[in-house]
């Protein structure tokens, strides 16, 4: 039977899920898995499958998926490795399209034949498998959640448009938890462990057409079939940016990767060249990955590299100006008319030369004046908006007042606001409206440069 890429969708949007290995046992993986799904907003049917009891958490349990009358779209398998393949055959027989094999005990522990058998089942039946030896899937839109870590230890990120593909399990758990703490909005997260079937290219294909995904992020140690990967990435990139955190860069790191997931990290220079040639954005830390990803979610294109900085603190303006140079962006030379009009409307001690310094007693009105002018100025391609919320003259409702302007901006706007409690509260108001906000100028400018580079690449490619 042909392997169908259509089946990928049932991993994310199943009408019904069977949890094979569901359990009542305190602390067991099967309990966390089943409980997480019941507690989530997933509104389809969830069937517990177990040979150990008649009910699980008060629900009627089944001994096999074959005992269930209704249709099942997705099976999640969390049972001892030695019985996984026979259960997988039952799933195929039942007509289940997609299967997440959480269980470990395959090639990663030397059980290569067991993994080959799993691959044969996939080939013969057309069932699609994520795993084995993986944490599986989290979809914030459909609420499918097979990450078997309890929510009091690992927060789930809020609904958003950043999708993530990864091999490593614990790493994904840690960065999702971190993203949840940071308030970063995410969409579909897949961690596929040994990737016996569903792999990078399948998922890149799928996510490039997914309406809930604006940007694809990937954590990889090694890629496996490099040619297939690059073909999928090159095709996807005209639709959506792809950001990759590739580890095993150093000789020692590559050796560590080999012993971790058996990945051949390959020559790092080759990866860098291939990524660059295909317009893939390479990053080196999870922070960078999300800093850049969230800037893409606003989906505003820049026409060029000339940036206006608006600030209420001179020092922060200087630091941001330095950062522009680091990322080969230019401080825009404002038109004389722009400067003259600002000079007429702003207090005389404000600086109307870029960086525009509204000074330490700035209020919303001054920001409105400056934004209005830089929107109109043809020498400005993008805007860095620095708001130091510590200054008490900034009104409490400053965000509410500026938000319509920022949202309707004809140019990308990146907000920089270092600070603590009050500042974070204000930034949350902006982030919930998909405005990219940063604590650090350097991170903000890096993200802005990535947007500008990406659209330059796409434009050249289309010529």
């Amino acid at each position: 039977m042909m392997i169908s890429s259509h089946n990928i969708d049932s991993f994310f949007n199943p009408s019904s899920i069977a949890i094979i290995g569901a359990s009542d046992k305190e602390g067991s993986l099967g309990k966390v898995l089943f409980n997480n799904l019941l507690e989530s907003k997933f509104d389809g049917e969830v069937y517990p499958i177990t040979i150990s009891s008649e009910t699980v958490m008060g629900r009627k349990a089944y001994r096999s998926v074959l005992d269930i009358e209704g249709n099942i779209d997705l099976a999640v398998i969390a049972i001892p490795a030695k019985v996984v393949n026979s259960v997988l055959r039952e799933c195929a027989k039942k007509g289940i399209k997609s299967c997440i094999v959480i269980s470990g005990g395959f090639s990663e522990t030397g059980e290569v034949e067991r993994e080959n058998e799993l691959k044969r089942i996939v080939e013969e039946t057309g069932i699609r498998v994520v795993g084995p030896n993986c944490v599986g899937i989290l979809d914030t839109h459909s609420s499918v959640d097979t990450i078997f870590l309890p929510s009091d230890r690992m927060g789930r990120p809020r609904m958003g448009k950043i999708s993530l593909i990864s091999q490593s399990g614990a790493f994904v758990a840690a960065i999702l938890d971190w993203a949840a703490g940071e308030g970063i909005g995410m969409s579909k997260i897949v961690s596929f462990g040994n990737k016996a079937d569903v792999n990078y290219s399948d998922l890149i294909d799928y996510l490039s057409k997914d309406e809930d995904t604006s940007v694809i992020t990937i954590y990889m140690e090694g890629v496996g079939d490099g040619r297939k990967f690059m073909t999928a990435a090159k095709k996807a990139i005209t639709n959506k940016p792809i950001i990759i955190l590739k580890s095993g860069r150093s000789k020692a790191g590559a050796a560590a990767a080999a012993s971790h997931t058996g990945s051949l990290a390959g020559s790092d220079i080759v990866y860098s060249a291939a990524f660059k040639q295909s317009g893939i954005i390479r990053v080196y830390t999870p922070q960078e990955m999300f800093d850049i990803a969230k800037a893409f979610v606003c989906r505003k294109k820049a026409k060029g590299r000339r940036v206006a900085i608006i600030t209420d603190g001179g020092g922060t303006g200087v630091i941001a100006t330095d950062s522009l140079a680091d990322y080969e962006l230019e401080l825009a030379a404002l038109e004389e008319d722009t400067k003259n009009r600002m000079r007429d409307s702003l207090p005389p001690y404000c600086s109307v030369k870029n960086p525009i310094d509204l000074t330490g007693d700035a209020d919303a009105k001054r920001y409105e004046i400056a934004l209005t002018e830089v929107f109109k100025d043809d020498n400005v391609d993008a805007i860095l908006l620095i708001l130091l919320f510590q200054l008490p003259t900034l009104e409490d409702d400053v965000i509410k007042r500026l938000l319509p302007m920022i949202k309707n901006s004809p140019k990308p706007i990146i907000v920089i606001s270092p600070g603590g409690g009050y500042t974070r509260m204000k930034l949350k108001e902006l982030e919930e409206e998909c405005i990219p906000c940063y604590q650090s100028s350097q991170n903000a400018v890096h993200a802005l440069s990535a947007i500008i580079d990406y659209y330059e690449y796409i434009k050249k490619k289309k010529l």
Copy 2:
């Protein structure tokens, strides 16, 4: 009269403070200033000085410092610029040693003669001045706080050992607020604006001998008297590390700095060379500054560059290994005995080769085993301890169990734990004991390399 450097101490440890310009008026700087001091834990006398009313916030007000009978150590001046100098003379007459001039309206607005007059008063009377045009001082140990920003907008960092010197006001406010949000412990913070008198070298001298300061951080746009600065820094550095964030690095940034504080940023290459030659650590973002500073607070020396990594997530171990190479650190080759003993005590699926992978079901016991072994291993100079708290097998009291080992470690230990709410709660337990913790491997390894580089520099210098 000679300018005395002894007087610097009364800025930080005064027995009594006069707030000149204290006020009851809602939203006024004088009210915020007076209120912040009253609400702080400062336990000396605080006198309001004003010509506008008989009392301020229910306290008897005085028209002049000369009307006060008792001794005054520190005066804070927040009145219109044109009367500052005559009030400053009164302060000198009263025998006040130290004065913070918050008021703007001096050289920064073209009033050069007014600033020269202030300098003459300093020379003639020996009074020391921080400012004018500054936010002044925050000392978390003595609770002196002249930062005129309300605490609901700008959080104050907790007591700690990192001191900060800066020229820029709003920048300091923003990063202190950020540090407060991050739980970073700080000691003495000085922002001296126009630096008409007290400058970098005075403060470096003072802080290098201050028991409450383990590390000196500096934000500068331009240095003024470079030779004096370097002399002070070279002398201080054998006692304490100095970390500098120097902005105005780029051509555009230097121009922005000139228009902001009138600083001549100077050639960036010259700065870099001078810093390097003197063992000063140069950073490029506030995040880097505090990442490195907090690593120095634990004050543990490393003998060399060989690092052991202990992790419960393979992927994070790979990323950390890559970071080591970025900062010219080595993955330690563990002694055979170390590996054998770990192999005997750990489950067989754990990896005892560096990075030591305790795997996804690790518990405190496994960390105890690994730490015990790397402490003893002569091939290990420093330790990266990765704790992914998302994993439910890590006991809730894991920190309590590991803390004595970590605190008594004979080698520097840096903790890496990416995560959200639960993780941050756990890290707080460590940070309160001065254990440096990081969300990102890259930041952690950068900090570790700075410690190692610093002690190598000091060792060479002493030879």
